[in-house]
Each structure stands twice: as structure tokens, then as C-alpha cells.
């Protein structure tokens, strides 16, 4: 378009720029919150040194299981795979009925109906990713269709992705409006907003995206899709918990948190629970307000429970792999 133009034509571009309104400063009234990387990571690491032993460990691991969103988000997902995973979600350890069901299964929209049927009569919820997961690179109308389809198939929860391209280019209004539109389309379904923190890179960005998502109507904020590394980390989770805390202190409204991706061991899970306990307190130590997005975490938790019970580690093969 610009190629081949002569210098005397270019003047008008300046006029175009001047006519373009600047974006509104966000967050609206109030302070913009900055985050210090070094101190945040230090605090997160310090909480990782809490010594969680014996009864505390067992209680924490059981809690972690009950908070899991058991996840499969692969191209090769099939009805069979979903049905098997749902059975695991309801009864993680068939040999020990005292082990709680997980909180939800997290799957693609086209498999929601199958999961819904498989989970009928259980407490396990169906969460569906939507909005052109994981990249979010589709027009809004398609994203909303995606959400509608999942909701009408019976999804209890929608995990949407934000438009990271828009966020990083400074078009916060677009990000905000999309979240608000998805929230409206969700109806009764709970909305989790995935920030994809691995692409936002700085804690300042994570904090700003958290504030933005909460303001636009998120019920939960979630770190990652699991498709981008780094996914969830303790400091990024702490940063988001602090955003949730500030919102709570200002409004009394409780927003949920879901770290997802890269959480594989019960030891990691306990670290996250410590972060929650010492940042937001016991109110958040419930699947209603805290979830783990994970696929292999449950089995590690089961293995640790068995170890606490019997004093010995059992072979991996003794735990069902669905």
C-alpha cells in the first residue's frame, strides 16, 4: 500500500495518527500495581521451605486430589479415552474409597456430552476449554460459538484463553471486551480465564492481565494452557493470588485460582497449597476456589498416600493410568 508512494503524499499519515484516539488507561481509577520480580520469587521460594509432614501431608494430598481438574487436551482424544478418564476422576483409587473424587475433568468442547454422560450422578464437574484454545487466534464470533456449543452440551465450567497478541500490543480494551462477551455467553457456567503467563513473561504483565480478567468478569483466573512452557510456576501463582487478594480486600468478592501445567508431584502441589494458605487463608482451600490443572498429579498423590499409609513406595504399575 505504502510502496510506490511519493514523499509529497506522506503528510496525511500524520493526520491519521492524530485522529486515532489513545486507549483508555487501565485499570480504571486507582493505582496501577507493580510487582518486584526478585522479592516475589524470594517469597514464593521461602514458602516452598515449609516442612509439611505426617497428618498435614496426608490432609494436604487429599485436598489436592479433590482440587484436581483431571485434564486431557490432545488431538488424539477419543470418546473411549474420555470415558476412561471420567471413571478415574470419580474414583481415583478403586482400592481406597476414602480418596475423594477430583473436582472436574477438563476437555475439548466436542467431548463434553460424552463426559457429561460418563459423570452423571457424580460430583465431578465438566470443564471445557473454548475460544479457539490454545492460541485464541479466531474471530470473536467463532470463539463465542465455541463457548455456546460447550455450554449447550452441558459444560459446567468454561476455560477460555485471552488474546495475548492484543494484550501485548496494548489493546487491553479488546481483551476486556472479549472476556466480558464470553462471560455473558457462559450463562450459568463458571468462567476460568487463562492468561497464558508463559507468553506474558513479566510479573507486571501477569498482574495487569489478572486485574483485567477479574474486572471483566472472570470467576477463576488460570495460569496456562499447558501448551506453552513455562506453564504454572509458584511465583506466577503467588502474583495472581495477590491480585485476587487485592480484589477481595476492595470488594469482598472471592475469585478462584487455577495453576495449570507442569504440576506433576504431590510435593509441588503442597507448595501451592502453602502459597494459598498463607496468602488468602483457609477460605480458598476448597475446590470451589482453587484448582490444579493437571494430568499426572493424581497418581503421584495416590502413591504418596500409599507411602504414608504403609511406609513404603509402591510401583508405578500399581496405580491405574487413565
Amino acid at each position: 500500500m505504502t510502496r510506490g508512494r511519493r514523499l509529497r503524499d506522506v503528510k496525511s499519515d500524520v493526520k491519521d495518527l492524530a485522529e486515532r484516539p489513545l486507549p483508555l488507561v487501565f485499570p480504571f481509577p486507582g493505582r496501577s500495581v507493580t510487582v518486584d520480580q526478585v522479592a516475589l520469587e524470594e517469597r514464593s521460594a521461602a514458602l516452598g521451605k515449609r516442612s509439611i509432614k505426617k497428618a498435614t501431608k496426608v490432609a494436604g494430598i487429599r485436598l489436592a486430589i479433590s482440587m484436581c481438574d483431571l485434564t486431557t487436551l490432545e488431538g488424539k482424544d477419543s470418546p473411549g479415552k474420555i470415558r476412561q478418564m471420567c471413571a478415574k476422576a470419580v474414583r481415583p483409587d478403586p482400592a481406597d474409597l476414602s480418596v475423594p473424587s477430583v473436582a472436574a475433568v477438563c476437555i475439548y468442547p466436542d467431548l463434553v456430552a460424552i463426559a457429561k454422560r460418563a459423570l452423571a450422578g457424580s460430583t465431578v464437574k465438566v470443564a471445557s476449554v473454548a475460544t479457539a484454545f490454545p492460541s485464541g487466534r479466531s474471530p470473536l464470533s467463532l470463539k463465542l460459538t465455541d463457548v455456546k456449543r460447550a455450554v449447550s452440551a452441558g459444560a459446567d465450567e468454561i476455560d477460555m484463553v485471552i488474546d495475548r497478541g492484543a494484550f501485548l500490543s496494548g489493546d487491553l480494551r479488546k481483551v476486556f471486551d472479549e472476556i466480558a462477551a464470553v462471560k455473558e455467553t457462559c450463562g450459568e457456567a463458571h468462567l476460568k480465564v487463562i492468561l497464558e503467563t508463559g507468553e506474558l513473561e513479566t510479573y507486571d504483565n501477569v498482574r495487569r492481565a489478572s486485574d483485567l480478567a477479574i474486572a471483566a468478569g472472570a470467576d477463576f483466573i488460570k495460569t496456562s494452557t499447558g501448551k506453552v512452557m513455562p506453564a504454572a510456576t509458584p511465583p506466577v501463582t503467588l502474583c495472581m493470588l495477590e491480585a485476587i487478594r487485592d480484589h477481595w480486600l476492595a470488594t469482598g468478592v472471592k475469585i478462584g485460582m487455577k495453576p495449570a501445567g507442569g504440576i506433576r508431584t504431590s510435593k509441588q502441589a503442597l507448595h501451592y497449597l502453602v502459597l494459598v494458605k498463607e496468602t488468602l487463608g483457609a477460605d480458598w482451600l476448597t475446590p470451589d476456589l482453587f484448582r490444579f490443572g493437571a494430568s499426572s498429579l493424581v497418581n503421584d498423590c495416590l502413591m504418596q498416600l500409599k507411602k504414608e499409609e504403609t511406609g513404603r513406595y509402591r510401583s508405578e504399575e500399581e496405580f491405574t493410568k487413565d
Binding site: 480504571f28 500495581v33 495477590e242 470488594t251 469482598g252 498463607e278
Partner: protein, 508 residues
Amino acid sequence: MAEEKKRDLLRTGRGKTPSRALARVEPDFLGKWEYAPALESTSHLTIRPSYDLFVGGKWVPAKSRKRFSTINPATEETLASVAEAGAADVDAAVRSAERAYEKYWRRMPGKERGKYLYRIARMLQEKAREFAVLETMDGGKPIKESRDIDVPLAAAHFFYYAGWADKLDYALPGRKARPIGVCGQVIPWNFPLLMAAWKLAPALACGNTSVLKPAETTPLTALHLARLFEEADFPPGVVNVITGAGATGAALVTHPKVRKVAFTGSTEVGKRIQKAAAGTGKRLTLELGGKAANIVFADAPLDQAVEGIINGIYFNQGHVCCAGSRLLVEESVHDVLVRKLAMRIRTLRLGDPLDKNTDVGAINSKMQLEKIRELVQSGIDEGAVLTQSGCTLPSRGYWFPPSFFTNVAQSFRIANEEIFGPVLAVQTFRTPDEAVEKANNTMYGLSAGVWTDKGSKIFKISQKLRAGVVWANTYNKFDPTSPFGGYKESGFGREGGRHGLAAYLEAE
């Protein structure tokens, strides 16, 4: 009422009225999932029932025949009986140090001295758990601090100065460096092992010998350190450790054969030492009290600033000379910050210092506890508003809950006097100039903190602060390569880094 509504609107940002739950927004940090006790084992440590003096490479009973007990301040149980060195014992220790100086240590090539010091550093690492547990039992500090800070830093100081031992000619460019002689080193009870390392490592690296006197409430780690010097086969008398109280320290620093005095402790005692040293030709460095300002600007990362404030004043129960005991906060964020701080101190776990999850341990001694109580009472009397963490205190031992005062005026005692306990005084300022003025408005000048997101402001403010150490967006960070020391009544001389060598060298 209308005013209140407007404020609410401003808070929520979306014109929504805040929920009714707002009045009860208070996190429940205790409920639901409580941590089980996680006690550090003490089985690997043997505390002897009694300790003698370490003089001339041997353990000798005190000629004074006096002894005193050292207790665990968390339980008030006696840990051991310790010899109290009298004037004759001090004299014997100084003479053995002088002999060792002339006979072995000053003649030994720096490279060889360095090897001895590296040996101590490595042995400290190997016995880290023993030293951490002992430090916690004798002094009351949480095991997580002695384990993660005191002992590793002490080893790091020996490693660092061991490296200097054969490079002293490069420490003072163009000049020849020589050792001074016998050093009399008197150290405090807040970081017993670490302060011993701060004193001994540079002194020995530079070719001096030492008589070290630990504080009377915390002598055990210094005595166990003496055992390391014995095991490491140091020439006899290079390091002597004598125990005792004020009289022993006075005899040591006034001994005519002591060529260099290094003291860390209270300003009051520091002044007396300086008077005694005047006109004697003794070299002197003093590291004394502080009343540091931690300055938080409105643009600071507030949640992280809260962590820095916590670390600044509740680290080691506030028994830290460079503690950030005055919080200067920009008035526009005062309420937010104080709310967050009040919330945060409720998560601090006070209790058995040997529990790995304990954040705040025991007050070092009954005397110190009484001093803290007196000053806190003065704050209440002068009209400041007290907030405490509300934790339950164990029935035995010496304890004081994490506390802070708001509504503090510059004229209050709690804003001027060093409390040396877990008590913070919160004051406000409006402009950067006012912040600097208030921060410098003290007789002390050891340390300060600046919290802002703006790099240029950090440099501008820190250059105007009369404080030996200024931390930016962090607090209470220590490293052997970094010099540490004060202005004004916080003392003089620097410890740590290349600067720390100057105190132990004669330059020709």
C-alpha cells in the same frame, strides 16, 4: 455518606457496590489445614555440661574460678556451665595470642594462612547442622534462619577472606600491607557465630591473631568454633576464645598488648570503649546500634514491600542492628500498606525455634524482653496505636509477639531509641525531601531501605541518606563481598569486602 460511596466506587472501579461481605474481609490463616510440628533433630549434637576457656590451643579452667550458666531462652533450661574469664585469664589469652603472632602467624606466607582458613570454612559447612541447632538452642532464633542464613554466611566469610590471605598486596594498591598484631574482638548475642566469622576471618587472613569474647548469653557456638580451630590444627594461640560478661570484655579491650579492638554491640558500650582506647594508639572499629528507616514510596511494589518490611523488622526477632525499625510510608498508600502489614503479621508463626516452620523465635534474654516491654509501654503512653499479631505465646521462655505502632511522631521514644525487638514504628511522609529528612533525623546511621518502582528515584534518594548500607527494593541482605558499617553513633569502620581488610592491616 456520599463521600463514602464515592470512595467505594473508586475502589471497585466498575461502579459496582462492594458486596456486604466486605466488612468481614479477614483471611483465616489458622483454620482447616494446620502444619504439624516439624522439629529439627538434636541427636547429632553433643552439648558438654561445662566449657572452659580456649587459650593457647588448650582448654583451660578459668583462674578466676568463676563460672556462669547459659540457658535456652525458649525454654529457660540451662544448657551448659561456662567459665568466666577474669583479668588474669584475659592476660594469659592476650599473651598467648602475642606469642602466636610473633612465632607463627605473622611469619607464615599468606598462601598458607589461606589454607587454614579454607579448612575452617569447609569444616563449618560439614558441621552446618550441628552449628545451626546449637545457635538456635543457645540464642532462640528460628532454625530456618540459623540453617539458611547464619551458618552458610559464616562459612562464606571464611571462604571469602581465605581468598584474600595471599593477595593482600593488591588490597591497598601501591602500598605494602602488614598485620597489626593481637586483636581483641568482642561480639554480640544476636548473630553469635556469624559475628565471630566477621571478626576472625579478616583478622586471621591479614596475619593477626585474636582473642575473641562472645556475649555471655550466647557463648556456645563460639566455643564450638574454637573446637574447629583445634581440629584444624591451627598453631596454638592464633585464636583464643574467652567467655565472660562486661568485665571480661573491658579487661580485654583495655589490655595494653591488644593492638586492635573490634567491637559489635550497643552504642553505650561502644562509647565507653572509644573513651578507653583514646590516646593508647590502639586501632578501633565499632559497629553499634541503629534505627534504620525503611522508606516506601507510593509507586513501590506494595506486596513485595510488605515482605521487605517483615524481613526488615521481624528477622531474628528484630535483634538486628540494621533492622528496618522505622517504616516511613508515603501518606497516600499508608492505609493500604498498614492493612496488608496487619494481615501479614498474622501469618508469622511464633514458637519453638527448633520447629522448621517457625518464623519468629524467642527473645534472647529476660533483660532484653524487659527492655522491649518498657519501650512498647512508652509508645502506648505517648499515644501511638499498637497492632500485634495476636499469636499465643508459649508459657515458658522469653517471647514478644510481632508488633507495630502507627500514629507515631518523630518525637516519640519508639521513633528514636533502638528497641532491638520485633517492634516497628510506622510514620508517614508526603514528599521525597520529607522522607530523606525524617530518615536522617536520627543519631544512628547504619542502614536504610528504599522501595520504589522507579530506578532513578532509588539513586537520588539513596545518595542523600546518611546510612552505611542502603537496600533498594529488598532488605537485610548480606554478603561477604559487601562492606557493612555505620555513620554517626552507629560506629565506624567497615566489615566485609575489600574495605573490611583495612581495619586489620597497617599500610606502609
